[in-house]
């Protein structure tokens, strides 16, 4: 697979605090890379650097053939890398409708933003047309997060940075969002940088896992081998803190019967 994004020796300091130190990793086209670590490990900082909310103090970020680290991004690059923010309560602008929230990137980039386009985007995240006119306060956490995903999809991105997209959702809704993300990745070939502290989730969303510890990359490898044969002591400690990853529970999660139907009914 071709390398979509390559990060080399990336570093970020805030004054004397080192948030990230010498991170190198790559994301292939259509790949899902999970970044795990506790709070303070630098995983959120990594996401902010990749989407361009902040600039690194060292190292490089290459997207395709362009070096992004130390200059403003072109329109094409902004369209290509999108963000789904963490907190479903603040992910959408409360004074606009869900549809207007999704339309914002279309307006910014001068793309077609008619009703039909919005309905199409809502349809991609399994939301019916009537949700276009709802305000965020009228939506559940899971619905808001799907609107945020629709907004990230609007510009036709190649990479989406998902910052703990499911951490505030209950397990049932979480499973639905994860399934949706997986389907979108397969249908559209978008790559994910999946930031999470939830190792149980990693198994179902990521091809590869990067483990961050105090701003450093301590382990990087295929999900299976990292979860089953962790090399670094910190990874082992993280894994031992996970409440549930036995086989029975794991099977239970994606196998919820027809909660889509339940959700549609009560939506």
């Amino acid at each position: 697979m071709a390398e979509l994004l390559a990060v080399r020796d990336l570093g970020k300091r805030y004054g004397r605090v080192v948030a990230l130190d010498g991170i190198s990793l790559g994301i292939a086209e259509g790949e899902s890379l999970a970044v795990v670590g506790q709070s303070g490990s630098g995983k959120t900082t990594l996401g902010r650097l990749v989407v361009g909310l902040e600039r690194p103090t060292a190292g490089s970020i290459r997207y395709r053939d362009g070096e992004l680290a130390h200059r403003s991004r072109t329109r094409a690059e902004r369209k290509a890398i999108q963000l789904v923010p963490q907190d479903p309560l603040s992910t959408l602008n409360p004074s606009r409708t869900a549809g207007a929230n999704v339309a914002l990137p279309l307006v910014v980039h001068g793309l077609p933003r008619g009703r039909a386009r919005l309905v199409e985007l809502f349809d991609k995240v399994d939301l019916a047309e009537r949700f276009v006119d709802r305000f965020p306060s009228e939506l559940s956490g899971g619905q808001r997060q799907r609107v945020a995903i629709a907004r990230a999809l609007a510009t036709g991105p190649r990479l989406i940075v998902l910052d703990e997209p499911t951490s505030a959702l209950d397990v049932l809704v979480q499973a639905r969002v994860v399934r949706l993300l997986e389907r979108l990745r397969q249908d559209l070939g978008i790559a994910y940088l999946f930031i999470t502290h939830d190792l149980a989730l990693v198994n179902s969303v990521a091809n590869r896992v990067a483990v961050l510890y105090r701003g450093r990359l301590v382990e990087l490898g295929p999900t299976d081998s990292v979860l089953r044969k962790p090399q670094h002591p910190y990874t082992r400690r993280l894994l031992s803190n996970v409440a549930v990853v036995d086989e029975a529970e794991e099977r239970l999660k994606p196998a919820r019967p027809d909660d889509e139907a339940v959700d549609q009914e009560f939506a």
């Binding site: 902004r78 963000l83 789904v84 602008n93 910014v108 990230a152």
Partner: protein
Amino acid sequence: MTRSGFLGAVIVGGLVLVAILAPWLAPYPSHAGAFVDVDLAYHPPNADHLLGTDGVGRDLLSRLLFAYRTSFLLACVVLLLAVPIGVTTGLAAGYLGGWLETVILRTTDIFLAVPSLVLAMAILGLFDPSLTMAMVAVSFAWWPWYTRLVYNVTRSIRTEGYVEAAETAGAGPLRTMFGEILPNARGPILTKMTLDAGFVILMGAGLSFLGLGAEPPTPDLGTMVAAGTPLLPDVWWPTVFSSLGIVIAVLGFNLLGDGIRDLFGADESC
């Protein structure tokens, strides 16, 4: 809306109507100007003049109704000048940060260190007092409060997910500030504007009481109070009724402002 907020809306709405319809509501519209009839001077409240007459025989009720025009004009002009300046500087300081933030905030510190009334008086001292100059002076003393308010709200909103998503999508600073942040700051701003309308009226009356605002014969609550005070307590009606006029206006705006704050679910910060 709460019951007291509704009462405030009724009072403010009533006073606005009074100000607009003054020429038709006032029993003696010509008394709003330079009318003089010495025979009628200092008549206590009676059937012809419900609130009595002033020193040159003008009907106090008529002048009171017209005085609200002056007060509302002052409040509107001051807010129209101060709010856009405060909102723009507050957004810029809170969102863009850096040296701009330092310059804007330190400037507001200088203004806020001096009581607004004193600052407005100092400015008026440099020019010939008039209603127009009073409006400019009060606005000059007022905008930093909006800078501070909008700055604080902006600081708390700028890290919200939707702001960062807009930035990631490529929205420029102007679109992010005025499109994403400002609409979510409208609750505190509207609340403060309503409360301030009352205080601006009070301050305007204070300035004209001191002879620094509206000039005679323009009907003004402050000058009317000032004209009545030397004659207290025997000729009580000019002072009492024009003071009551101020009290009712300030009370109305305060109740309405509290109601709006509750409506937006905002905290007590403004």
